[in-house]
Amino acid sequence: MVEELGTNTEGDLIINVGPQHPATHGVLHLVITLNGETIKKVEPHLGYIHRSIEKMCESLTYRQYIYVTSRMDYLSSHINNHACALIVEKGMQIEVPPRAQVIRVLMDELTRIASHELWWGSMAMDLGAFTPFFHAFREREAINEIMEETCGARLTMNYMVPGGVLDDLHPDFQRKVKEFISLYKRKISEYDEIVTGNIIFQNRMKGVGVISAADAISFGCSGPALRGSGVSCDIRKIYPYEIYDKIEFDEVLETAGDSFARYMVRIREMNQSIRIIEQLIDNIPEGDFQAKTKAVLKLPKGEFYQRVETARGEFGIFIVSEGGTNPYRIKFRSPGFSNLSALDHMARGSKIGDLVAMMGTLDLVIPDIDR
Protein backbone atom coordinates (compact mmCIF):
# COMPACT_ATOMS: atom_id res chain seq x y z
CA MET A 1 0.00 0.00 0.00
CA VAL A 2 1.11 3.51 -0.78
CA GLU A 3 0.26 4.78 2.65
CA GLU A 4 2.81 2.58 4.31
CA LEU A 5 5.66 3.98 2.28
CA GLY A 6 5.00 7.47 3.54
CA THR A 7 5.22 9.17 0.18
CA ASN A 8 3.38 8.58 -3.05
CA THR A 9 4.79 8.55 -6.54
CA GLU A 10 4.73 12.32 -6.77
CA GLY A 11 6.86 12.66 -3.68
CA ASP A 12 4.08 14.02 -1.49
CA LEU A 13 4.09 13.29 2.19
CA ILE A 14 1.23 11.14 3.41
CA ILE A 15 0.24 11.57 7.02
CA ASN A 16 -2.23 9.63 9.09
CA VAL A 17 -4.20 11.91 11.35
CA GLY A 18 -5.91 9.56 13.72
CA PRO A 19 -7.40 7.17 14.67
CA GLN A 20 -5.64 8.35 17.81
CA HIS A 21 -4.95 12.04 17.47
CA PRO A 22 -5.64 15.01 19.73
CA ALA A 23 -7.55 16.93 17.05
CA THR A 24 -9.98 14.28 15.89
CA HIS A 25 -11.86 14.07 19.22
CA GLY A 26 -12.51 10.40 18.82
CA VAL A 27 -11.47 7.67 16.50
CA LEU A 28 -11.66 9.42 13.18
CA HIS A 29 -8.91 8.49 10.76
CA LEU A 30 -7.90 10.98 8.09
CA VAL A 31 -5.21 10.18 5.55
CA ILE A 32 -3.76 13.48 4.46
CA THR A 33 -1.61 13.99 1.39
CA LEU A 34 0.71 16.91 1.97
CA ASN A 35 2.96 19.00 -0.16
CA GLY A 36 5.09 20.67 2.46
CA GLU A 37 2.51 22.12 4.82
CA THR A 38 -0.14 22.39 2.15
CA ILE A 39 -2.90 19.84 2.03
CA LYS A 40 -3.50 18.17 -1.33
CA LYS A 41 -6.08 15.64 -0.30
CA VAL A 42 -7.96 14.52 2.79
CA GLU A 43 -9.39 11.05 2.82
CA PRO A 44 -11.50 9.95 5.77
CA HIS A 45 -11.41 6.33 6.85
CA LEU A 46 -14.35 5.52 9.06
CA GLY A 47 -15.64 2.61 11.03
CA TYR A 48 -13.47 2.53 14.14
CA ILE A 49 -16.52 2.99 16.33
CA HIS A 50 -19.16 1.56 14.02
CA ARG A 51 -21.66 -0.43 16.06
CA SER A 52 -24.14 -1.02 13.28
CA ILE A 53 -26.92 0.64 15.20
CA GLU A 54 -29.17 0.33 12.16
CA LYS A 55 -28.85 -3.45 12.27
CA MET A 56 -29.31 -3.50 16.03
CA CYS A 57 -32.51 -1.51 15.79
CA GLU A 58 -34.02 -4.12 13.50
CA SER A 59 -34.31 -6.41 16.50
CA LEU A 60 -35.45 -3.80 19.02
CA THR A 61 -38.97 -2.62 19.72
CA TYR A 62 -40.13 0.93 19.23
CA ARG A 63 -39.68 1.63 22.92
CA GLN A 64 -36.24 0.10 23.07
CA TYR A 65 -34.67 1.63 19.98
CA ILE A 66 -34.82 5.14 21.40
CA TYR A 67 -32.06 4.57 23.90
CA VAL A 68 -29.62 3.38 21.21
CA THR A 69 -29.87 6.69 19.41
CA SER A 70 -28.48 8.50 22.47
CA ARG A 71 -25.24 6.70 21.74
CA MET A 72 -24.94 8.14 18.27
CA ASP A 73 -24.65 11.85 18.74
CA TYR A 74 -24.04 11.70 22.44
CA LEU A 75 -23.82 15.47 22.73
CA SER A 76 -27.37 16.03 21.56
CA SER A 77 -28.94 12.79 22.68
CA HIS A 78 -32.18 14.52 23.69
CA ILE A 79 -32.75 15.70 20.15
CA ASN A 80 -31.99 12.29 18.67
CA ASN A 81 -34.42 10.71 21.11
CA HIS A 82 -36.91 13.38 20.23
CA ALA A 83 -36.81 12.37 16.57
CA CYS A 84 -37.36 8.74 17.52
CA ALA A 85 -40.34 9.61 19.68
CA LEU A 86 -41.77 11.88 16.97
CA ILE A 87 -41.65 9.24 14.27
CA VAL A 88 -43.47 6.70 16.44
CA GLU A 89 -46.06 9.32 17.33
CA LYS A 90 -46.45 10.21 13.69
CA GLY A 91 -46.90 6.61 12.67
CA MET A 92 -49.33 5.73 15.43
CA GLN A 93 -51.03 9.12 15.52
CA ILE A 94 -50.44 9.65 19.21
CA GLU A 95 -51.44 13.05 20.51
CA VAL A 96 -48.72 14.46 22.73
CA PRO A 97 -49.96 16.56 25.66
CA PRO A 98 -48.99 20.25 25.45
CA ARG A 99 -46.97 20.07 28.65
CA ALA A 100 -44.83 17.29 27.22
CA GLN A 101 -44.30 19.28 24.04
CA VAL A 102 -43.03 22.30 25.94
CA ILE A 103 -40.80 20.14 28.13
CA ARG A 104 -39.35 18.48 25.06
CA VAL A 105 -38.56 21.76 23.37
CA LEU A 106 -37.00 23.13 26.55
CA MET A 107 -34.81 20.07 26.86
CA ASP A 108 -33.85 20.22 23.20
CA GLU A 109 -32.70 23.79 23.49
CA LEU A 110 -30.78 23.16 26.70
CA THR A 111 -29.08 20.26 24.95
CA ARG A 112 -28.25 22.46 22.01
CA ILE A 113 -26.61 25.01 24.29
CA ALA A 114 -24.70 22.31 26.15
CA SER A 115 -23.50 20.85 22.88
CA HIS A 116 -22.39 24.22 21.55
CA GLU A 117 -20.61 24.99 24.82
CA LEU A 118 -18.59 21.84 24.51
CA TRP A 119 -17.91 22.56 20.87
CA TRP A 120 -16.75 26.06 21.71
CA GLY A 121 -14.31 24.79 24.28
CA SER A 122 -12.87 22.03 22.17
CA MET A 123 -12.74 24.29 19.14
CA ALA A 124 -10.56 26.76 21.04
CA MET A 125 -8.47 23.88 22.33
CA ASP A 126 -7.87 22.67 18.79
CA LEU A 127 -6.50 26.08 17.98
CA GLY A 128 -4.15 25.91 20.94
CA ALA A 129 -6.03 27.93 23.57
CA PHE A 130 -6.69 25.60 26.47
CA THR A 131 -8.37 27.96 28.88
CA PRO A 132 -11.75 28.38 27.10
CA PHE A 133 -12.36 24.66 27.42
CA PHE A 134 -12.60 24.91 31.17
CA HIS A 135 -14.64 28.09 31.04
CA ALA A 136 -17.11 26.43 28.68
CA PHE A 137 -17.44 23.46 30.97
CA ARG A 138 -18.49 25.69 33.82
CA GLU A 139 -21.65 26.71 31.95
CA ARG A 140 -22.18 23.25 30.54
CA GLU A 141 -22.00 21.83 34.02
CA ALA A 142 -24.97 23.97 35.04
CA ILE A 143 -27.03 22.42 32.24
CA ASN A 144 -25.85 18.95 33.14
CA GLU A 145 -27.00 19.52 36.70
CA ILE A 146 -30.45 20.47 35.44
CA MET A 147 -30.54 17.38 33.23
CA GLU A 148 -29.42 15.18 36.06
CA GLU A 149 -32.16 16.40 38.34
CA THR A 150 -34.99 16.00 35.86
CA CYS A 151 -33.87 13.15 33.61
CA GLY A 152 -31.64 11.23 35.98
CA ALA A 153 -28.58 11.25 33.76
CA ARG A 154 -26.09 13.76 32.47
CA LEU A 155 -25.29 12.68 28.94
CA THR A 156 -27.46 9.85 27.66
CA MET A 157 -30.69 10.98 29.18
CA ASN A 158 -33.26 8.58 27.66
CA TYR A 159 -35.93 11.04 28.70
CA MET A 160 -38.12 11.05 25.62
CA VAL A 161 -40.61 8.21 25.31
CA PRO A 162 -43.26 7.77 22.62
CA GLY A 163 -46.17 9.89 23.76
CA GLY A 164 -44.34 12.33 25.96
CA VAL A 165 -41.50 12.36 28.42
CA LEU A 166 -40.46 9.81 30.98
CA ASP A 167 -41.05 11.83 34.10
CA ASP A 168 -42.44 15.17 35.13
CA LEU A 169 -40.14 18.14 35.55
CA HIS A 170 -38.26 18.37 38.80
CA PRO A 171 -39.76 21.02 41.12
CA ASP A 172 -36.48 22.92 41.00
CA PHE A 173 -36.32 22.92 37.23
CA GLN A 174 -37.65 26.41 36.54
CA ARG A 175 -35.54 28.02 39.24
CA LYS A 176 -32.39 26.30 38.06
CA VAL A 177 -32.98 27.14 34.42
CA LYS A 178 -33.44 30.77 35.33
CA GLU A 179 -30.23 30.64 37.32
CA PHE A 180 -28.52 29.17 34.32
CA ILE A 181 -29.85 31.89 32.03
CA SER A 182 -28.50 34.60 34.29
CA LEU A 183 -25.16 32.79 34.55
CA TYR A 184 -25.04 32.44 30.79
CA LYS A 185 -25.80 36.09 30.21
CA ARG A 186 -23.05 37.12 32.59
CA LYS A 187 -20.47 34.85 31.01
CA ILE A 188 -21.22 35.04 27.29
CA SER A 189 -19.38 38.36 26.92
CA GLU A 190 -16.25 36.63 28.22
CA TYR A 191 -16.40 34.31 25.25
CA ASP A 192 -15.95 37.31 23.01
CA GLU A 193 -13.11 38.63 25.15
CA ILE A 194 -11.12 35.44 25.26
CA VAL A 195 -11.81 33.89 21.88
CA THR A 196 -14.08 35.63 19.39
CA GLY A 197 -12.45 39.03 19.49
CA ASN A 198 -8.92 37.70 19.67
CA ILE A 199 -6.92 38.75 16.64
CA ILE A 200 -5.02 35.47 16.41
CA PHE A 201 -8.24 33.51 16.55
CA GLN A 202 -9.90 35.64 13.88
CA ASN A 203 -6.94 35.27 11.58
CA ARG A 204 -6.98 31.54 12.07
CA MET A 205 -10.68 31.33 11.19
CA LYS A 206 -11.41 33.95 8.56
CA GLY A 207 -11.11 32.80 4.98
CA VAL A 208 -10.35 29.26 6.09
CA GLY A 209 -12.34 26.30 4.81
CA VAL A 210 -14.52 28.35 2.53
CA ILE A 211 -17.40 26.47 0.98
CA SER A 212 -19.85 28.13 -1.37
CA ALA A 213 -23.59 27.80 -0.88
CA ALA A 214 -23.99 25.63 -3.99
CA ASP A 215 -21.20 23.30 -2.93
CA ALA A 216 -22.46 23.07 0.61
CA ILE A 217 -25.91 22.08 -0.66
CA SER A 218 -24.42 19.56 -3.06
CA PHE A 219 -22.38 18.00 -0.29
CA GLY A 220 -25.51 17.65 1.80
CA CYS A 221 -24.17 19.81 4.61
CA SER A 222 -26.69 20.83 7.18
CA GLY A 223 -26.95 22.84 10.34
CA PRO A 224 -24.35 25.53 11.02
CA ALA A 225 -22.15 24.17 8.23
CA LEU A 226 -24.80 25.08 5.67
CA ARG A 227 -26.14 28.17 7.43
CA GLY A 228 -22.62 29.56 7.53
CA SER A 229 -22.79 29.64 3.73
CA GLY A 230 -26.04 31.59 3.82
CA VAL A 231 -28.52 28.83 3.02
CA SER A 232 -31.58 28.72 5.19
CA CYS A 233 -31.93 25.14 6.37
CA ASP A 234 -33.13 25.18 9.96
CA ILE A 235 -35.60 22.28 10.19
CA ARG A 236 -37.22 24.03 13.13
CA LYS A 237 -38.19 26.85 10.78
CA ILE A 238 -38.81 25.23 7.42
CA TYR A 239 -40.44 21.96 8.48
CA PRO A 240 -41.53 22.82 12.03
CA TYR A 241 -42.13 19.97 14.41
CA GLU A 242 -43.53 20.01 17.95
CA ILE A 243 -44.28 23.63 18.88
CA TYR A 244 -41.47 25.35 17.05
CA ASP A 245 -43.92 27.09 14.72
CA LYS A 246 -45.44 28.91 17.70
CA ILE A 247 -42.17 30.12 19.15
CA GLU A 248 -40.39 33.28 18.19
CA PHE A 249 -36.80 32.80 17.22
CA ASP A 250 -34.56 33.74 14.34
CA GLU A 251 -32.75 31.43 12.04
CA VAL A 252 -29.10 32.41 12.24
CA LEU A 253 -27.48 32.95 8.88
CA GLU A 254 -23.99 34.04 7.92
CA THR A 255 -22.89 34.47 4.34
CA ALA A 256 -19.11 34.17 4.28
CA GLY A 257 -19.05 30.36 4.26
CA ASP A 258 -15.71 30.21 6.06
CA SER A 259 -14.86 28.77 9.43
CA PHE A 260 -15.52 32.06 11.17
CA ALA A 261 -19.03 32.20 9.71
CA ARG A 262 -19.77 28.71 11.00
CA TYR A 263 -18.31 29.72 14.34
CA MET A 264 -20.51 32.81 14.55
CA VAL A 265 -23.60 30.81 13.56
CA ARG A 266 -23.10 28.54 16.53
CA ILE A 267 -22.39 31.36 18.95
CA ARG A 268 -25.47 33.26 17.83
CA GLU A 269 -27.52 30.10 17.87
CA MET A 270 -26.87 29.74 21.56
CA ASN A 271 -28.44 33.16 22.09
CA GLN A 272 -31.48 32.10 20.09
CA SER A 273 -31.80 28.97 22.19
CA ILE A 274 -31.72 31.12 25.30
CA ARG A 275 -34.45 33.22 23.74
CA ILE A 276 -36.62 30.14 23.19
CA ILE A 277 -36.05 28.96 26.73
CA GLU A 278 -36.92 32.37 28.12
CA GLN A 279 -40.21 32.32 26.23
CA LEU A 280 -41.18 28.90 27.47
CA ILE A 281 -39.82 28.67 30.96
CA ASP A 282 -42.63 30.64 32.57
CA ASN A 283 -45.32 29.26 30.29
CA ILE A 284 -45.17 25.54 30.86
CA PRO A 285 -48.81 24.41 30.65
CA GLU A 286 -50.22 22.18 33.35
CA GLY A 287 -51.38 18.71 32.50
CA ASP A 288 -50.04 15.30 31.68
CA PHE A 289 -46.45 14.81 30.75
CA GLN A 290 -47.16 11.62 28.88
CA ALA A 291 -50.00 10.45 26.68
CA LYS A 292 -51.62 7.12 27.37
CA THR A 293 -50.05 4.64 25.00
CA LYS A 294 -50.49 0.94 24.44
CA ALA A 295 -48.03 -1.34 26.16
CA VAL A 296 -46.86 -2.72 22.82
CA LEU A 297 -46.22 -0.17 20.11
CA LYS A 298 -46.77 -1.22 16.52
CA LEU A 299 -46.14 1.06 13.61
CA PRO A 300 -48.49 0.51 10.67
CA LYS A 301 -47.06 -0.90 7.47
CA GLY A 302 -45.36 1.77 5.46
CA GLU A 303 -42.43 4.11 5.36
CA PHE A 304 -41.85 6.99 7.73
CA TYR A 305 -39.34 9.78 7.78
CA GLN A 306 -38.76 12.33 10.50
CA ARG A 307 -36.20 15.10 10.41
CA VAL A 308 -35.15 17.24 13.34
CA GLU A 309 -32.53 19.91 13.85
CA THR A 310 -29.81 18.71 16.18
CA ALA A 311 -26.90 20.80 17.34
CA ARG A 312 -24.89 19.58 14.36
CA GLY A 313 -27.51 19.78 11.66
CA GLU A 314 -30.31 17.80 10.15
CA PHE A 315 -30.89 14.43 11.75
CA GLY A 316 -33.28 12.11 9.98
CA ILE A 317 -34.80 8.75 10.74
CA PHE A 318 -36.16 6.61 7.95
CA ILE A 319 -38.21 3.64 9.11
CA VAL A 320 -39.62 0.91 6.92
CA SER A 321 -42.27 -0.88 8.90
CA GLU A 322 -43.89 -4.18 8.15
CA GLY A 323 -46.52 -3.57 10.79
CA GLY A 324 -44.72 -5.42 13.54
CA THR A 325 -43.19 -4.34 16.81
CA ASN A 326 -39.73 -3.93 15.29
CA PRO A 327 -38.70 -1.77 12.37
CA TYR A 328 -37.98 -3.77 9.21
CA ARG A 329 -35.25 -1.39 8.16
CA ILE A 330 -34.13 1.75 9.85
CA LYS A 331 -31.77 4.37 8.49
CA PHE A 332 -30.33 7.22 10.48
CA ARG A 333 -29.33 10.21 8.44
CA SER A 334 -26.64 11.70 10.60
CA PRO A 335 -25.53 15.28 10.05
CA GLY A 336 -21.88 14.54 10.71
CA PHE A 337 -21.58 12.00 7.90
CA SER A 338 -22.56 14.46 5.21
CA ASN A 339 -20.64 17.32 6.78
CA LEU A 340 -17.51 15.20 6.87
CA SER A 341 -17.79 14.46 3.16
CA ALA A 342 -17.28 18.17 2.50
CA LEU A 343 -14.02 18.24 4.47
CA ASP A 344 -11.86 17.18 1.53
CA HIS A 345 -13.35 19.89 -0.66
CA MET A 346 -12.78 22.54 2.02
CA ALA A 347 -9.29 21.50 3.01
CA ARG A 348 -7.54 21.28 -0.35
CA GLY A 349 -4.90 23.95 -0.64
CA SER A 350 -4.88 25.03 2.97
CA LYS A 351 -2.39 24.33 5.74
CA ILE A 352 -2.41 21.55 8.34
CA GLY A 353 -3.30 24.08 11.00
CA ASP A 354 -6.38 25.03 9.01
CA LEU A 355 -7.57 21.45 8.88
CA VAL A 356 -7.92 21.55 12.64
CA ALA A 357 -9.96 24.73 12.43
CA MET A 358 -12.22 23.23 9.78
CA MET A 359 -12.80 20.04 11.69
CA GLY A 360 -13.55 22.16 14.71
CA THR A 361 -16.20 24.23 12.98
CA LEU A 362 -17.82 21.20 11.36
CA ASP A 363 -18.23 19.93 14.93
CA LEU A 364 -17.67 16.29 14.12
CA VAL A 365 -18.89 13.77 16.66
CA ILE A 366 -17.44 10.46 15.56
CA PRO A 367 -20.07 8.04 16.90
CA ASP A 368 -22.59 10.13 15.00
CA ILE A 369 -20.65 9.65 11.76
CA ASP A 370 -20.00 5.97 12.24
CA ARG A 371 -23.32 5.04 13.81
Partner: protein, 158 residues
Protein backbone atom coordinates in the same frame (compact mmCIF):
# COMPACT_ATOMS: atom_id res chain seq x y z
CA UNK B 1 -2.82 56.00 4.18
CA UNK B 2 -1.09 52.63 4.18
CA UNK B 3 0.94 53.63 7.23
CA UNK B 4 -2.18 54.74 9.10
CA UNK B 5 -3.91 51.44 8.40
CA UNK B 6 -0.80 49.55 9.37
CA UNK B 7 -0.55 51.29 12.70
CA UNK B 8 -4.28 50.87 13.25
CA UNK B 9 -3.96 47.15 12.57
CA UNK B 10 -1.15 46.76 15.04
CA UNK B 11 -2.96 48.79 17.64
CA UNK B 12 -6.23 46.88 17.28
CA UNK B 13 -4.41 43.57 17.41
CA UNK B 14 -2.64 44.53 20.61
CA UNK B 15 -5.91 45.80 22.06
CA UNK B 16 -7.73 42.54 21.35
CA UNK B 17 -4.91 40.60 22.94
CA UNK B 18 -4.93 42.87 25.96
CA UNK B 19 -8.67 42.31 26.45
CA UNK B 20 -8.09 38.58 26.54
CA UNK B 21 -5.18 38.96 28.93
CA UNK B 22 -7.28 41.10 31.25
CA UNK B 23 -9.93 38.39 31.44
CA UNK B 24 -7.45 35.63 32.23
CA UNK B 25 -5.72 37.83 34.79
CA UNK B 26 -9.09 38.32 36.43
CA UNK B 27 -9.45 34.57 36.86
CA UNK B 28 -5.83 34.24 37.92
CA UNK B 29 -6.41 36.63 40.81
CA UNK B 30 -9.98 35.65 41.73
CA UNK B 31 -9.69 32.27 43.35
CA UNK B 32 -13.33 32.30 44.41
CA UNK B 33 -14.25 31.49 40.82
CA UNK B 34 -12.54 28.13 41.03
CA UNK B 35 -15.04 25.37 40.35
CA UNK B 36 -12.95 22.28 41.02
CA UNK B 37 -14.74 19.63 43.05
CA UNK B 38 -12.33 17.51 45.05
CA UNK B 39 -14.32 14.39 44.50
CA UNK B 40 -13.26 11.64 46.86
CA UNK B 41 -12.86 14.18 49.65
CA UNK B 42 -16.30 15.69 49.29
CA UNK B 43 -18.21 12.43 49.46
CA UNK B 44 -19.94 13.54 52.64
CA UNK B 45 -21.39 16.66 51.06
CA UNK B 46 -21.88 15.27 47.59
CA UNK B 47 -25.44 15.82 46.46
CA UNK B 48 -26.87 13.43 43.92
CA UNK B 49 -30.18 14.09 42.24
CA UNK B 50 -32.86 11.77 43.58
CA UNK B 51 -33.74 10.69 40.05
CA UNK B 52 -30.17 9.80 39.20
CA UNK B 53 -30.04 6.46 37.42
CA UNK B 54 -27.17 4.56 38.95
CA UNK B 55 -28.14 0.91 39.03
CA UNK B 56 -31.24 -1.24 39.33
CA UNK B 57 -32.01 -2.44 42.83
CA UNK B 58 -34.88 -4.32 44.41
CA UNK B 59 -36.06 -2.77 47.68
CA UNK B 60 -36.72 -5.18 50.52
CA UNK B 61 -38.66 -4.32 53.65
CA UNK B 62 -37.68 -5.22 57.22
CA UNK B 63 -39.21 -8.71 56.90
CA UNK B 64 -36.90 -9.42 53.95
CA UNK B 65 -39.82 -9.26 51.57
CA UNK B 66 -39.84 -7.81 48.07
CA UNK B 67 -42.59 -7.06 45.57
CA UNK B 68 -41.38 -9.07 42.58
CA UNK B 69 -43.82 -11.58 41.17
CA UNK B 70 -41.44 -12.95 38.56
CA UNK B 71 -43.58 -11.82 35.62
CA UNK B 72 -40.46 -11.21 33.44
CA UNK B 73 -41.82 -7.89 32.16
CA UNK B 74 -38.49 -6.27 32.92
CA UNK B 75 -36.60 -8.99 31.11
CA UNK B 76 -38.72 -8.45 28.02
CA UNK B 77 -38.44 -4.68 28.21
CA UNK B 78 -34.67 -4.66 28.45
CA UNK B 79 -33.03 -3.79 25.14
CA UNK B 80 -29.75 -5.57 25.78
CA UNK B 81 -30.42 -8.61 27.92
CA UNK B 82 -29.36 -7.09 31.19
CA UNK B 83 -31.97 -8.78 33.35
CA UNK B 84 -32.55 -12.51 33.62
CA UNK B 85 -35.41 -13.78 35.77
CA UNK B 86 -35.02 -17.30 37.12
CA UNK B 87 -38.34 -18.53 38.43
CA UNK B 88 -39.31 -21.36 40.73
CA UNK B 89 -42.59 -22.68 42.06
CA UNK B 90 -43.47 -22.18 45.70
CA UNK B 91 -46.20 -24.04 47.51
CA UNK B 92 -48.83 -21.79 48.99
CA UNK B 93 -50.41 -22.77 52.36
CA UNK B 94 -53.44 -23.95 50.44
CA UNK B 95 -51.24 -26.43 48.64
CA UNK B 96 -51.33 -24.66 45.30
CA UNK B 97 -48.28 -24.07 43.20
CA UNK B 98 -47.33 -20.43 42.86
CA UNK B 99 -44.77 -18.87 40.57
CA UNK B 100 -42.08 -16.87 42.33
CA UNK B 101 -38.59 -15.71 41.61
CA UNK B 102 -35.64 -17.80 42.49
CA UNK B 103 -33.09 -15.27 41.33
CA UNK B 104 -33.31 -11.96 39.51
CA UNK B 105 -29.92 -11.72 37.85
CA UNK B 106 -28.85 -8.25 36.86
CA UNK B 107 -25.82 -7.62 34.66
CA UNK B 108 -24.64 -4.17 35.60
CA UNK B 109 -21.90 -4.34 32.98
CA UNK B 110 -24.52 -4.48 30.21
CA UNK B 111 -26.95 -1.97 31.67
CA UNK B 112 -27.38 1.37 29.93
CA UNK B 113 -29.68 2.90 32.56
CA UNK B 114 -32.51 3.40 30.07
CA UNK B 115 -35.17 2.99 32.75
CA UNK B 116 -37.36 0.74 30.57
CA UNK B 117 -37.45 -2.09 33.12
CA UNK B 118 -38.58 0.26 35.88
CA UNK B 119 -41.47 1.58 33.78
CA UNK B 120 -42.35 -1.92 32.64
CA UNK B 121 -42.59 -3.41 36.12
CA UNK B 122 -46.26 -3.78 37.07
CA UNK B 123 -45.67 -4.17 40.80
CA UNK B 124 -42.97 -1.54 41.41
CA UNK B 125 -40.57 -4.20 42.55
CA UNK B 126 -37.42 -2.61 41.19
CA UNK B 127 -36.13 0.92 41.18
CA UNK B 128 -33.07 2.92 40.29
CA UNK B 129 -30.53 3.52 43.02
CA UNK B 130 -28.40 6.64 43.22
CA UNK B 131 -25.08 4.82 43.47
CA UNK B 132 -22.39 5.58 40.97
CA UNK B 133 -19.14 4.08 42.20
CA UNK B 134 -19.42 0.84 40.31
CA UNK B 135 -15.80 0.03 39.60
CA UNK B 136 -14.64 -3.38 40.76
CA UNK B 137 -11.56 -5.47 40.14
CA UNK B 138 -13.31 -8.32 38.40
CA UNK B 139 -16.03 -8.16 35.80
CA UNK B 140 -17.92 -11.08 37.33
CA UNK B 141 -18.62 -8.94 40.41
CA UNK B 142 -20.86 -6.78 38.25
CA UNK B 143 -23.33 -9.61 37.78
CA UNK B 144 -25.65 -9.19 40.70
CA UNK B 145 -28.58 -11.07 42.16
CA UNK B 146 -31.12 -8.47 43.15
CA UNK B 147 -33.30 -10.43 45.53
CA UNK B 148 -31.72 -11.12 48.88
CA UNK B 149 -31.01 -14.55 50.27
CA UNK B 150 -34.17 -16.17 51.63
CA UNK B 151 -36.43 -13.30 50.68
CA UNK B 152 -40.00 -13.83 49.66
CA UNK B 153 -42.76 -11.90 48.04
CA UNK B 154 -44.80 -9.42 50.03
CA UNK B 155 -48.36 -10.25 50.98
CA UNK B 156 -50.93 -8.94 48.61
CA UNK B 157 -48.70 -8.27 45.63
CA UNK B 158 -50.02 -9.97 42.55
Amino acid sequence: MFIVNYIKDVFNALKSLAIGLRRTLFYFTHHKEIITEQYPDNRATLHLADRFKGEVVMPHDENNEHRCTGCTACELACPNGTIKVVTKFDMTPEGKKKKAIDKLVYHLELCTMCNLCITACPSDAIKMAQTFEHSVYDRSQLTKVLNKEGSKIMEGVE
